[in-house]
């Protein structure tokens, strides 16, 4: 009998990919990186709407933080310019730091929420920041009646 709840590793080994859903970018706020919070119909039966929207909203918040124009970003820009951008050889930019936070968050979400439901989020960075790719897995040995 297949276990009902999947860990990430089990998902990769035992499940087969059924389809993929792509959450597109939302350009209503300009060229800043934001994703649409519209709930894809393919996920209707797999995950609660609120959880999905929560994930996308948090991601949008992270990207807004990365691209925030303000005092600290100007300071970073001016300091980098003053050193002829050599400082980037040894320092990580604010944007890169936030991207690391994002990938950690996505991994976290995958482990806690998405993998148990047979779904997998792909970091938008892997897709050129164009889409959030959600892979929907089917159980190979799923039985309609629960054990």
């Amino acid at each position: 009998l297949c276990p009902q709840v999947h860990s990430l590793q089990e998902l990769r080994r035992s499940a087969s990919l059924a389809t993929k859903v792509f959450v597109q970018r939302d350009y209503s706020d300009g060229t800043t990186c934001q994703f649409q919070t519209k709930f894809p119909p393919e996920l209707e039966s797999r995950i609660e709407r609120q959880l999905f929207e929560e994930t996308v909203k948090t991601l949008n918040g992270f990207y807004a933080e990365a691209e925030k124009i303000g005092g600290s970003s100007y300071l970073e820009g001016c300091l980098a310019c003053a050193t002829a951008y050599f400082i980037f050889l040894c320092m990580e930019t604010h944007y890169e730091k936030v991207l690391k936070k994002i990938s950690k968050y996505i991994q976290d979400q995958n482990e806690k929420i998405y993998a148990p439901r047979g779904l997998l989020l792909t970091d938008p960075l892997e897709r050129g920041m164009r889409v959030i790719e959600i892979s929907i897995y089917e159980d190979r040995c799923s039985s309609p009646s629960s054990a």
């Binding site: 993929k20 792509f22 350009y27 300009g30 060229t31 820009g77 792909t122 970091d123 920041m129």
Partner: protein, 385 residues
């Protein structure tokens, strides 16, 4: 009997990237294919500065002040650093859509437009978005199979979609886009200052020497002797600086105007925001200082191309498709089995541009290729694009 697949060489993603770029230093450096004019730029800058430091500076440092060569050196180093940054970095290339994603978008387009009967031209693929209360159209790129973000454009020379595409500059041998515009601007600014500086001090040098031995004597010293070769070189430097001044300073002025209005060269050429029936620029903050700050000192997004990531090989026994970035990004390449890896591999192989290109796209792309035929005349700033 176990078969060990010995991988001779690690294949990195840059080796399989579509588009017409060249990569150096194992993917660390990214440039356009035609680099001839870039070498000319390097030669002119290095040559002129070498002559200046070797000859005029020695005289002027003694006669006037040792600060003169020091300041020139600072300007020179800054100009070279920004030039190399502009030329070698990723301008903001948007990677092409993988087959799954492209198919998904095609389905969406068909759902909106409906199936087109045979023989009829399909309607242009455009999505409308509202930004800051103004409607902006997103165009579909047939080569990259994506809807281009606003302000992005497809460079036909490099065959890539580039974010906030400004222009393709043959003088730096690369596209100028979101990620390297500030370096480009600082390069032309520092080059303008450097040119003015060298020009001025060459004039000062000739003036000082003339005061000592007379102007005519300065000019007509006998050939073959040490002072004569100096004069010829000085005149050469003055000529180079003179022609460079007109073009580079003009270009710097033009780009200062663009930065103040938060516009790109591409938008300016196409007249996207000018004219009565057009929308106003929705990206401008309305304030010159704010626009300048955002364009020159705003946050810098990292490259999404992952040129040095290791490409997943089907034959490899060890699944180590880890990108050198965060811990979380390891998962997706490693999760997918051989089928997925193959798909990823084939998606990265060079794609043939789609033969059916709508009329709306063709004239635009032709407009953007003045850089393809490099115009060496240093006159109008725009001709350099």
């Amino acid at each position: 009997m176990s078969v060990m697949v010995a991988r001779k060489k690690v294949v990195r993603k840059w080796e399989k990237l579509p588009g017409r770029n060249t990569f150096c230093c194992d993917g660390r450096i990214m440039m356009a294919r035609q680099k001839g004019i870039f070498y000319l730029t390097l030669f002119l800058i290095l040559g002129t500065c070498a002559l200046f430091f070797a000859f005029e500076c020695r005289y002027l440092a003694v006669q006037l002040s040792p600060a003169i060569p020091v300041f020139a050196a600072v300007l020179f180093l800054f100009a070279m650093a920004t030039l190399l940054r502009t030329s070698f970095s990723d301008p903001g290339v948007i990677p092409r859509a993988l087959p799954d994603e492209a198919a998904f978008i095609e389905m969406e387009i068909e759902a909106t437009n409906g199936t087109v009967p045979q023989g009829q031209r399909p309607p242009p693929r455009i999505k409308n978005f509202q930004i800051n209360n103004q409607i902006v159209k997103l165009k579909y790129c047939y080569t990259c199979k994506i809807f281009r973000p606003p302000r992005a454009s497809h460079c036909s020379i490099c065959d890539n979609c580039v974010e906030r595409f400004d222009h393709h500059c043959p003088w730096v041998g690369n596209c100028v886009g979101k990620r390297n515009y500030r370096y480009f601007y600082l390069f032309i600014l520092s080059l303008s200052l450097l040119t003015i500086y060298i020009f001025t001090f060459n004039i000062v040098y000739v003036a000082l020497k003339s005061l000592k031995i007379g102007f005519l004597n300065t000019l007509k010293e006998t050939p073959g002797t040490y002072p004569s070769s100096l004069t010829v070189l000085t005149v050469l430097e003055v000529l180079i600086c003179f022609f460079t001044l007109w073009s580079v300073v003009g270009l710097t002025g033009f780009h200062t105007f663009l930065v103040a209005l938060n516009q790109t060269t591409n938008e300016d050429i196409k007249g996207s925001w000018t004219g009565k029936n057009r929308v106003q620029n929705p990206y401008s903050h309305g304030n010159i200082v704010k626009n300048c700050c955002e364009v020159l000192c705003g946050p810098l997004p990292p490259s999404v191309l992952d040129r040095r990531g290791i490409l997943q090989q089907e034959e490899s026994t060890a699944q180590e498709g880890s990108c050198p970035r965060g811990p979380g990004t390891q998962e997706p390449p490693a999760t997918q089995g051989p089928g997925q890896a193959q798909e990823g591999h084939s998606a990265l192989s060079p794609q043939v541009p789609a033969p059916s290109v709508s009329d709306a796209e063709l004239p635009e792309e032709k407009q953007r290729t003045p850089g393809e035929l490099p115009v060496p005349s240093p006159d109008a700033g725009r001709a350099e694009h």
